[in-house]
């Protein structure tokens, strides 16, 4: 088993080294080499994302949370398929749900959070990564594998709640980290208010990710975090719901943060464009969706388990 893992790790490190060589040695061979528009860099970040996921797994591999049995295999596939179908339905082409103040309704993100939190990090990672991949494939996009890995991280981090025995204490730590990220996001927004919102498209209004970010989208990270806090203290007795939302919030920040930061190199975005124009308007609204939909899913699943006795 250990040997197998070492070989996987070796392969990942190999991919990483090759791409680093291409990125750093390549320009010496050919000065005009700019990886911005080549596909290579995307896969480098896929490699880095997988390394992060693998590192977390490696550090905690003794935990039963990583066990994958029949049940987990089936939940992985259900989660991924649901995520794919939901992202397809709400990508703006099937249901034309109008966006409010540059925030489009994309409730699908609750799926990897719920599956990750309920069934563990392995199920969460598969749900997010494979679901996003298939969702892009059936929509006809599918040019950004680093966002699939980012979505995988959302599910995986949501599932890391299982790795800690002291639920309350880990929840508090997660709350402080997410709070710090939300405040950092707000500070970035205030510093770069004129950054275009790159995830907002509205062909009818001739807007293609270039309208200045709206106040609501800019502070949505903080609004989302306040909602998350409201859930955490509103359901203080029901630690399941509070923990699911808090871990989901952290996963959302880290997963999308990873994807947005990787776009600094992949698409050559300036850092403030990636963070304010891409990260805030995607991660903030996600938090709002998560704070409302994840508790509903957790509560519904709990009552299903009570009824069926499983």
């Amino acid at each position: 088993m250990d040997r197998k893992m070492l070989s996987v790790l070796g392969a990942l490190v190999g991919v990483l080294i090759i791409f680093l060589l291409v990125a750093y040695v390549g320009p010496m061979v050919n000065e005009s080499l700019n990886l911005g528009e080549t596909a290579g860099l995307r896969f480098l970040f896929v490699g880095i994302g997988l390394l992060i996921a693998f590192g977390i797994y490696w550090a905690t591999k003794s935990s039963p949370a990583w066990e994958v049995g029949t049940r987990e295999v089936v939940y992985m596939s259900i989660g991924a398929a649901l995520y794919a179908v939901l992202s397809y339905l709400f990508n703006g082409t099937v249901f034309a749900v109008p966006s409010l103040s540059q925030v489009a309704l994309r409730p699908a993100v609750a799926i990897p959070m719920f599956f990750g939190y309920t069934f563990g990090p392995a199920v969460g990672f598969f749900t997010g990564a494979v679901g996003n991949m298939f969702g892009d494939a059936i929509t006809g996009f599918g040019l950004s594998p680093q966002w699939s890995i980012g979505n995988g991280l959302i599910g995986m981090i949501s599932g890391m709640a299982m790795l800690f025995s002291d639920k309350k204490k880990s929840m508090d730590i997660v709350m402080y980290i997410s709070g710090a990220i939300a405040i950092l996001g707000l500070a970035l927004y205030l510093a770069f208010k004129d950054t275009p919102n790159m995830v907002f498209f509205d062909p009818a209004q001739n807007i293609f990710g270039d309208a200045p970010i709206s106040l609501f989208a800019g502070i949505s990270g903080l609004i989302g975090f306040v909602l998350v806090l409201a859930v955490r203290f509103g359901f203080a007795k029901n630690t399941e719901i509070a923990a699911a939302v808090l871990w989901g919030a952290l996963g959302n920040f880290i997963g999308l943060g990873f994807a947005a930061i990787s776009d600094i190199w992949i698409n050559g975005f300036p850092p403030q464009a990636a963070l304010v124009g891409e990260f805030l308007p995607s991660a903030g609204p996600n938090l709002i969706f998560a704070a409302i939909l994840v508790p509903a899913l957790v509560a519904a699943y709990a009552s299903f388990r009570r009824q069926s006795g499983r």
């Binding site: 291409v22 080549t38 596909a39 089936v74 596939s77 649901l82 249901f95 409010l100 309704l105 494979v130």
Partner: protein
């Protein structure tokens, strides 16, 4: 319970290959096409994709929804980038004006005008060819890949038994959940639920998603119990798994794989030495 994608056996070029070989080729094609912005290179990919589609034996009647959707998407997207000139800024800095179309009227002192520049024309063409080549081959996959072979195909591509089976199930679940969503939506509509007419603030709108998302998710988990039982009864995951169908590479499969890998290596080398970037003819 499971609805399948519209696969049927056909005696065609694509389906004469081992599905593993075809997927490897598809990934190589995908990666190669992404390396280029030069229309002269992209036209090769475009032509290849078009030939594959036309010889795939997938009829218009069975696939028209997919084609209309992707066709509209690609057309609207490229037309809009063309009209506005946005989107291409990553690959070109200067524009050469070919013609300027001005509307013969003006609205409150504003005359609608369209700048046609060489760069915009070629960027739109490149974008159309890139997206279309990749999207059309992606659409063909569910039509040409036998659902009974999903699992063994992914296993044959090097995934572990469990992951291969999870991928298999995911692909099988997607159409059934799509149908479940439609059924749930219809059922909720019969009760007066209107997804097209969501009112209220963002929080209120998200809350109105609950009657759609929660039933579908919970229903999926309830029905999965049968699948879990069936798999457990067949001792899933206890030992190395065997598959009902076996896949064997033939010579033509090796030829296809070698061709795909060579194409990818060549495309990557060309793009590393700077060939195949955005190109416009000298005027």
């Amino acid at each position: 319970m499971l609805v399948t994608w519209r696969y049927r056996p056909r005696k065609t070029f694509i389906q004469s290959f081992d599905p593993r070989a075809w997927l490897i080729f598809f990934i190589c094609f995908f990666g190669s096409a992404l390396m280029f912005w030069d229309v002269r290179f992209l036209v090769v990919f475009f032509g290849a994709a078009l030939t594959l589609v036309l010889t795939s034996g997938v009829t218009w009647a069975e696939s028209k929804r997919a084609w209309t959707f992707i066709g509209m998407f690609v057309l609207i997207y490229t037309t809009l980038t063309f009209l506005t000139g946005r989107g291409g800024m990553e690959v070109y800095q200067t524009e050469q004006l070919l013609a300027r179309l001005e509307a013969p009227f003006n609205i409150f002192g504003w005359t609608p005008a369209l700048d046609i520049t060489l760069q915009r024309v070629f960027f739109a063409m490149a974008q159309l060819m890139r997206v279309w080549s990749i999207a059309s081959l992606t659409i063909l996959i569910p039509y040409t890949l036998n659902p009974a072979l999903y699992g063994v195909t992914f296993r044959g591509l090097g995934m572990s038994d469990k992951i291969a089976y999870a991928m298999d199930l995911t692909m099988r679940f997607i159409p059934s959940f799509g149908r479940d969503f439609q059924l749930t939506l219809d059922a909720q509509r019969a009760r007066g639920y209107e997804i097209e007419n969501l009112k209220g603030g963002l929080v209120a709108q998200v809350r109105k998603m609950i009657p759609l998302i929660v039933p579908v998710t919970i229903h999926a988990m309830i029905s999965s119990e049968d699948i879990i039982d069936a798999m457990d009864l067949r001792a899933f995951g206890v030992g190395p798994r065997t598959w009902l169908d076996e896949l064997h590479y033939t010579r033509r499969d090796y030829v296809l794989i070698v061709f795909g890998v060579l194409m990818l290596v060549m495309a990557a080398s060309l793009s590393l030495i700077g060939v195949g970037r955005f190109w416009v003819p000298a005027v």
